[in-house]
């Protein structure tokens, strides 16, 4: 029973990072139609920024803020500089993002070698609750994720900006006629998703050591979760992220760790075959092209 709870907690903390990526993917892909496979590399850059800041003597919290800001700015520059030219041809945007994967990965390798990087645990405390050992850093990751995802959820579903955004996804032209600056919303969503990836990166390096190649598997999980949950559907992304993270946590704890990475792909293939719009229904991309 102790082990069970511990695995559940481990699974939840992995699920948190995956959910953060998936929320970013589901927002960007589902609402703007940009297929950004370099999203995992955004996460990795977030980890690297955190690592650099901690190396420079900063505490974890300012490092995390720095990572979110840096990746957000990077997202802004890349959207304005590259992705805005591919909005009408999503496949081209996808290929651009493949190029970005290669570029970002190897720029990081070029400057900071391909070896594993880790930071000292920002919260070293381990609580002993009725025989279950709970690492406080994992609890921190889970709580931060819950808070941020809840904020995003309220922003997209409740605020007037979120309403304008969803209007722009449903019908760009009419939304534009109503005075909604559609292009600016596209940029805004991209920056928001990027910042979430930066946050995910900062939290990931608090949990595990990372390498410049970490982004590759993480982004596939992010896309898998986004598609399983239904594109553009935040609730779906959170639920699917939870399922996947817990399945992975348990499989790692009970001796099928070498198949861990296969679950997300297998699950995604299965869901796309049975329910192409995801478990909870999604936008299946904006109607643009």
């Amino acid at each position: 029973m102790d082990i069970l709870i511990q695995q559940l907690l481990n699974g939840l903390s992995i699920a948190s990072v995956i959910t953060l990526i998936a929320v970013g993917v589901t927002l960007i892909f589902g609402l703007t139609g940009i297929i950004n496979f370099a999203h995992g590399e955004f996460l990795m850059v977030g980890s690297i920024v955190t690592w650099l800041a901690v190396q420079a003597g900063l505490g974890f919290l300012p490092a995390l803020v720095l990572a979110v800001l840096a990746v957000g700015v990077m997202g802004f520059v890349l959207e304005r500089g590259l992705f805005q030219f591919t909005l009408t041809r999503p496949t081209n945007g996808f290929i651009v993002s493949l190029g970005l994967i290669v570029v970002l990965q190897h720029i990081v390798i070029f400057f900071y070698d391909p070896n594993q990087k880790s930071i000292p645990r920002p919260l070293a405390g381990i609580w002993d609750v009725a025989g279950v050992r709970i690492a406080s850093v994992r609890v921190m990751v889970i709580l931060v994720t819950i808070a941020v995802v809840a904020m995003t959820f309220v922003m997209v579903t409740r605020s007037r900006y979120g309403r304008a955004l969803r209007a722009a996804v449903d019908d760009r032209d009419t939304a534009a006629l109503m005075g909604i600056p559609v292009r600016r919303y596209v940029t805004g969503v991209f920056v928001l998703g990027s910042a979430l990836a930066g946050l995910g990166g900062a939290l990931l390096i608090a949990l595990f050591p990372i390498t410049p190649f970490t982004g590759g598997t993480m982004v596939m999980k992010g896309f898998a979760v986004a598609l399983i949950g239904g594109l553009g559907n935040l609730t779906g992304a959170v639920v699917a992220g939870l399922i996947l993270g817990i399945v992975e946590g348990f499989s790692a704890g009970y001796g099928f760790s070498e198949w861990t990475d296969a679950y997300s792909f297998a699950l995604m293939i299965l869901v796309l075959l049975l329910r192409p719009n995801g478990l909870f229904g999604g936008t299946s991309g904006p109607k643009m092209a």
Binding site: I35, L82, F85, T86, R89, P90, T91, N92, F94, I95, V96, L98, G99, L100, I101, V102, V103, Q105, H106, I107, I109, F110, G216, T217, M220, F223, A224, L227, E258, W259, D261, A262, F265, A266, M268, I269, L272, L273, P276, G285
Partner: protein, 339 residues
């Protein structure tokens, strides 16, 4: 672009290039150059398959290296367990990769549009995981060795020089096969799907089946390329067939231009030799590839060769304007560029 009046003419530039390539060994290249050329050639065989899929049908596969891997593992396993050698492994590798393509394609193409790309990517990753966890049968993460010699009419053909000609022969074969596909009614069917799927369906084309067919055809190319690769490297491991080789294959076909017959050759050679020419280390050259890919997509969406032809036509437009035929060709070209 594909002048139906003279399909033979479109084959000529490719044949000229191939003849030039056949003369390369006479110039006494170093062993390093030869082995680079061989791996470029092996890639080009797979690229021709990818150009049928992406250039003609307009669907992109991000798991193509996995299909190459199926061919390569088929060759290694056949050699180990049954003693089947190079020449029989070639068609069998193609068949196995085609079956794998069908297995991937039938479910993947049920989901529409951009999801297909993601599905091929996922299947590619799955194959790597399966190969890594395959235990002794697939050699797990260390992979498999291949010891059988390559014989050609009783003579050993696996030294660099003869193997270069073997690979070149297959490059020629795949170029001609891809030319035949482009100029057949089958190729026109695929292009109809690329240009307007709904219109093609309303004309009675079974879009789903044709797409799967194109994927299977490209799988045959990939499988043969995999067998060539296995017999060239003599050792294969799962890491050679992950998503990154797939990205590089897509990159090569983009840089060369997927719709032109010369595109795959240009892309394969450029990507293989550019780092040598510029004297870059692998990390720098990959950054360069990535930048090139982004630049090509944003500035020359039809690839370098088509871009060069475009530029040439713009330069010479004033002198050719009087010929109505060329003008029509230009117009067609323009519509092609503005797809």
């Amino acid at each position: 672009m594909y002048n139906s009046l003279s399909p033979i003419r479109s084959l000529i530039p490719v044949l000229v290039v191939l003849i030039v390539l056949a003369l390369v060994p006479a110039m006494g290249p170093s062993n390093r150059m030869l082995s680079l050329a061989i791996s470029a050639g092996i890639n080009i065989v797979a690229l021709y398959g990818l150009s049928v899929l992406f250039g003609q049908t307009g669907i992109l596969s991000m798991g193509h290296a996995a299909l190459v891997g199926v061919g390569a593992y088929a060759a290694a396993l056949l050699a180990r367990d049954t003693g089947i050698g190079f020449w029989l492994a070639l068609p069998l590798g193609g068949v196995f990769a085609a079956i794998a393509a069908a297995i991937i394609g039938i479910p993947s193409l049920r989901v529409s549009g951009h999801h297909f790309v993601i599905m091929t990517f996922a299947f590619g990753q799955l194959l790597t995981i399966v190969l890594t966890n395959g235990g002794d049968y697939t050699g797990a993460a260390t992979g498999l060795d291949l010891q059988l010699p390559v014989n050609f009419f009783g003579a050993r053909a696996d030294d660099l020089m003869p193997y270069y000609f073997v690979v070149l022969a297959f490059v020629t074969l795949s170029a001609v096969a891809s030319w035949a596909i482009i100029n057949s009614s089958y190729g026109r069917t695929l292009r109809a799907i690329r240009e307007n799927e709904k219109l093609a369906a309303s004309l009675g084309i079974n879009v789903g089946r044709q797409k799967i067919g194109a994927f299977v055809v490209s799988g045959v190319f990939a499988g043969i390329s995999g067998v060539l690769l296995a017999y060239f490297l003599r050792h294969i491991s799962p890491s050679q067939f992950t998503s990154f080789p797939s990205i590089y294959l897509a990159l090569m076909v983009m840089i060369g231009g997927a719709r032109l017959l010369l595109g795959p050759i240009a892309g394969g050679i450029l990507v293989a030799f550019l780092p040598e020419v510029l004297n870059l280390d692998p990390v720098e050259s990959r950054i360069l590839y990535g930048v090139c890919l982004i630049a090509v997509i944003l500035l020359l969406p039809n690839g370098l060769i088509a871009g060069a032809i475009d530029g040439w036509q713009k330069l010479t437009r004033s002198s050719t304007r009087k010929h109505p035929g060329t003008q029509a060709a230009n117009a067609e070209h323009a519509s092609e560029a503005g797809r």
